[in-house]
């Protein structure tokens, strides 16, 4: 049957391009320390189970969850590691939710931790493992390796995002200024968030447009950084959450939906998504999540959104696909300031993935920040009262979308 789950607390480590002052377990410990600081009633002995995860092969060490067992306080307790590529953080949060929702005897409070120390591992090895299967198949069918790598531009997520950006820009008839505006909003918001990476309080649209193209239509100044950082979330039952914190945040809906593989497809057979910005998986995950949470009018009922947007065109795309704005109207809303901190529907007030991207942790930082906005404990807190918020995730070439809807009222429909 399942039971109502609440988020009691969430915490972050400091993010930077190279956290060379700490090792990987120490980085994770920082996030847990910050998370438990927000929930003074919880001792490490009160936590019944742990969920842990990061982007596979990006950390450069074998079985990192066992290395950091002592640093998490997980010795002799149930521990689970989940990795789903770019959406790892979202999946770790959903796993934490499921662990509590299952209602197993003796498992009420679960700590979910997602982390990434990209400066330590070899990112190119990680990326190679993402695309190598499809590339070797195309290779066998007659396309030489040099041409494939040129076509895919080394296979990184930016290749996929650039294709999405071109069709999105074609569909909405927007200019590069509209993309730059999103970046400026994100990086200025990041300057007010203590844990964010790229803090640029005085960034202007002209400065963004002054940087060279990485890949048309995306410029260097629009692309997310590579960060080191960790995030922790504390999930517990409805009853216990009321004792632990002042404003428990109830998880009312979760979804994780995969869609057609972008660009390459399986066995080199191409993609059925003729328009890469169509994103049927996001639409479906929104449907599932909102029906669980009893949200009928997302635009009206959702007060705050954290969407996974390493590239500005994705932020515009997601807010539309997740039902927050009508199709092709998001750029206007950004121009009108609807999505600003003091706007009608604030989006990514933490600066989002565009300002901080510790890959494995990024997709968990979205629901974590969205939960803190409801609790009123966020670093860049919006002035209005947030009742309902969402946090989404998107994973690389597979187009896997994770979504979590949270509220200050327990409304999960069973």
């Amino acid at each position: 049957m399942g039971r109502q789950v609440a988020i009691a607390s969430a915490g972050f480590s400091e993010h930077a391009s190279k956290r060379s002052d700490v090792s990987m377990p120490e980085l994770v410990s920082e996030a847990i320390e910050d998370c438990l600081k927000n929930a003074p009633g919880v001792e490490i002995g009160d936590i019944d189970a742990f969920v842990n995860g990061n982007m596979p092969a990006f950390e450069g060490s074998n079985i990192p969850e066992l290395w950091m067992t002592d640093w998490m306080g997980a010795r002799n307790k149930p521990l689970l590691r989940v990795t789903t590529g770019g959406t790892t953080g979202g999946t770790v949060a959903i796993s934490g939710y499921y662990t509590v929702a299952a209602g197993l005897p003796g498992i009420d409070t679960v700590l979910a931790v997602a982390f990434e120390q990209q400066s330590q591992g070899d990112t190119s090895v990680g990326l190679a493992s993402v695309a190598y299967g499809e590339i070797s198949i195309l290779n066998t069918l007659g396309i030489p390796y040099e041409q494939i790598s040129r076509l895919l531009s080394a296979g990184a997520a930016i290749g996929v995002a650039a294709y999405q950006a071109t069709t999105y820009m074609n569909k909405t008839k927007i200019k590069e200024e509209d993309l730059a505006r999103v970046v400026v909003q994100n990086r200025r918001n990041a300057a007010k968030t203590w844990w964010a990476h790229l803090k640029m309080p005085n960034l202007t649209i002209e400065e963004v447009l002054d940087t060279p193209y990485v890949q048309y239509p995306l410029r260097y100044g629009m692309v997310c950084p590579a960060s080191d950082g960790a995030c922790a979330m504390l999930f517990t039952t409805e009853e216990k959450a009321k004792d632990i914190c002042d404003i428990p945040v109830y998880v009312n809906g979760v979804a994780s939906v995969a869609n057609e593989t972008a660009v390459l497809g399986y066995d080199g057979s191409g993609s059925c998504q003729i328009d890469p910005s169509m994103q049927l998986g996001a639409i479906r995950s929104a449907e599932l999540t909102y029906s669980q949470a009893g949200i009928s009018f997302p635009r009206k009922e959702i007060d705050y959104a954290e969407v996974y947007s390493p590239f500005p065109n994705q932020e515009l795309m997601w807010v539309e696909k997740l039902g927050l704005f009508e199709e092709a109207t998001a750029p206007e809303m950004y121009e009108a300031g609807v999505t600003a901190v003091n706007g009608e529907l604030p989006v990514n007030c933490s600066g989002g993935v565009n300002a901080t991207n510790a890959i494995g942790a990024s997709a968990m930082e979205r629901p974590a920040e969205a939960a803190l906005q409801i609790m009123g404990k966020a670093s860049n807190q919006v002035p209005k009262t947030v009742h309902t918020s969402i946090g989404s995730g998107w994973g690389g070439s597979l187009n896997l979308i994770t979504l979590m809807a949270m509220s200050d009222q327990p409304r999960r429909k069973f």
Binding site: P40, I44, G142, D275
Partner: protein, 175 residues
């Protein structure tokens, strides 16, 4: 008060050590063996030798896959019908990459396109004629396959795609 917060904060570590010690290491990781079936590709590759394009169609949802696919993800049905596909296509989407020539150091602009063949329901990666100016490329641009003189029965038999003027009215670009 939690034990985690009672415990001395991590600052004591930072006081003692300004930096962590960095150990560099490397090991050979890039060796893979993937098993995949190519029997469903055979008719497709043989037709390429004759400079003809075919795709396979799902009998349940009628979607046409080019290059052929082993299973339709929508219906969990094996596409078993072969259908002809035109050698004309549309640019479904594109991006421009900026690659440095290793010898001259000159930055080259190269458009990378996903092509949507007329008669197919999928897009595939391809290259445009290097003589096409990158500024002229747009979404929905009509293009035509340019074959190599000697075909071997591989995807590389299509050397690149050329621009052409589309005066046919029977096929409209599907949105």
């Amino acid at each position: 008060m939690s034990k985690m917060t009672q415990r001395k904060s991590l600052d004591y570590i930072k006081k003692d050590y300004v930096r962590t010690r960095t150990l560099t290491g490397s090991w050979y990781l890039a060796s893979y063996k993937f098993k995949f079936n190519i029997t469903h590709m055979k008719p497709f590759l043989e037709k390429l030798k004759e400079k003809k394009l075919i795709g396979n169609q799902c009998s349940s949802c009628n979607r046409v896959f080019y290059p052929p696919r082993q299973v339709c993800g929508k219906c969990l049905v094996k596409p078993d019908k072969w259908v002809d596909i035109r050698n004309t296509a549309r640019v479904s989407t594109f991006a421009i990459s900026y690659l440095k020539d290793p010898e001259t150091g000159e930055v080259q602009e190269r458009p990378m396109v996903l092509v949507h063949h007329d008669g197919a329901d999928t897009t595939s990666i391809a290259e445009l004629n290097p003589e096409i100016d990158v500024k002229d490329v747009y979404v929905g641009m009509p293009i035509i396959a340019h074959w190599r003189d000697e075909t071997v029965g591989g995807l590389m038999d299509i050397e690149y795609y050329d621009k052409f003027i589309d005066d046919s009215d029977d096929i409209r670009y599907k949105k």
